[in-house]
Symmetry: C2
Subunit: 248 residues, 2 copies
């Protein structure tokens, strides 16, 4: 698998956690971010932080944690950003401009590519999320879709979901399933010929197992598997070793 | 926000956790699943389970946990499924059929809609993921894209990412930004006329602040905000109360 970065906007994204009560969640958020190429973490009045619980859950993402900026207010954490996105798990009755996670990623990329703006994505407390006053500082309300009958997304999980979606939005994934490895038409035809010869040789075809019909079914089966060159070589190796069965 | 379920395939998806060493991760996985409408959890030889740590992290998703099926082998956990997808965070050199998370969700829906097949998505141990022997039982290798220099996705986070992507793939999200609330052309024109009158009234326009130019800039500004009916009503209320400023 190769990831091709299309936009290189990762350094333009700031994750802001407001009044987080459980330091373990800060560590888990750092880990979630680093896994998805994000590194800028801002903490507004974190409870019991720094703490061993945060470091333990960060699991190798301690650089994100040690570079985290601790602030006294959300305003302070938003200084220098151009676009502010508030994250919410539940629907809000008051009318902010709402969008889903992909929509938010599109806005972040737009802000970066047209005006080199830094964006903040803001996450509230574990119990209640962002307050309406905090949301007033946001330009967009990002809603993470989910089960309408149970929405209790952990804050680090919400950051994981956003960070994943942001990476996917900004990269092209290529898998090493190179076309060249797939067998050519000629290689396949030559294999089917070989297969038919061997099946004749072992007297497989009979009146109620007619060659034409069975070869068609076998072609359908093998074609569906899209055999690679190496696989065809293995199958032909097997065919070579097949001896006619002694009829009793 | 309204979610419209397109496919209703949630009950066709089984999450399988193999040899999980940390029971807290099982609870976090149950919570991640329930948030995204999934409920079928299978546990192969979970260490130290059941445990208080699992229940604590499940946080309201205890029904998923109490319905979880504990198995002695991966084979047992896969009984009854038609499509088996192994999850991996890192690239594998051996050649399984690889795809990303969206690709896996497409295959799950295909299996469900064409043959009513149940699918399993299998997650390995925290430290090493799935072994090659376990992957041999899988039809597809699902790779979660991420930072090439640091890939250490927590197993519950990986389940969160898959479950989120599966929900997004299977739902249409609609926001309550109803078109009818947006002001009509006529309402906006009438507002601009009112605005121009008030600005004349307070002697705002001058030779170096020409009416035509400034009204064009104001129109551009207000149009970009796509004002809703209610917002135009608020703005007109303000205009009504504006008194000419006594020139000194």
């Amino acid at each position: 698998m190769n990831l091709k970065d299309k936009n290189e906007n990762y350094t333009s994204v700031r994750i802001v956690m407001v009044n987080t009560t459980e330091p373990g969640n800060i560590g888990a958020a750092a880990r979630a971010m680093k896994n998805m190429n994000l590194s800028k973490l801002y903490l507004v009045n974190p409870k019991g932080y720094p703490s061993a619980a945060a470091t333990a859950r960060a699991s190798g993402a301690d650089d994100v944690l040690s570079n985290a900026v601790v602030c006294d207010s959300l305003q302070e954490a938003l200084n220098g950003t151009g676009l502010v996105i508030g994250a919410s798990a539940r629907q809000r009755s008051v009318k902010w401009r709402q969008m889903d996670v992909v929509g938010a990623c599109i806005e972040i990329q737009k802000a970066y590519s047209t005006n080199s703006l830094e964006s903040a994505v803001v996450f509230g407390t574990e119990k209640f999320g962002l307050t309406n006053k905090e949301l007033d500082l946001c330009h967009i309300l990002m809603t993470i879709p989910g089960n309408p009958d149970y929405f209790s997304l952990n804050v680090a999980s919400a950051i994981q979901v956003f960070s994943y979606q942001n990476l996917v939005y900004n990269t092209d994934t290529e898998f090493d399933n190179e076309k060249s490895k797939v067998s050519s038409f000629g290689e396949l035809e030559s294999f089917y010929e070989h297969l038919a010869q061997v099946l004749e040789h072992i007297d497989y075809f009979e009146e109620n197992k007619p060659k034409e019909l069975l070869m068609r079914r076998l072609r359908r089966f093998f074609n569906r598997a899209e055999p690679e060159k190496e696989e065809i070589a293995i199958l032909r190796g097997i065919l070579k070793d097949i001896k006619p069965f002694e009829k009793q």
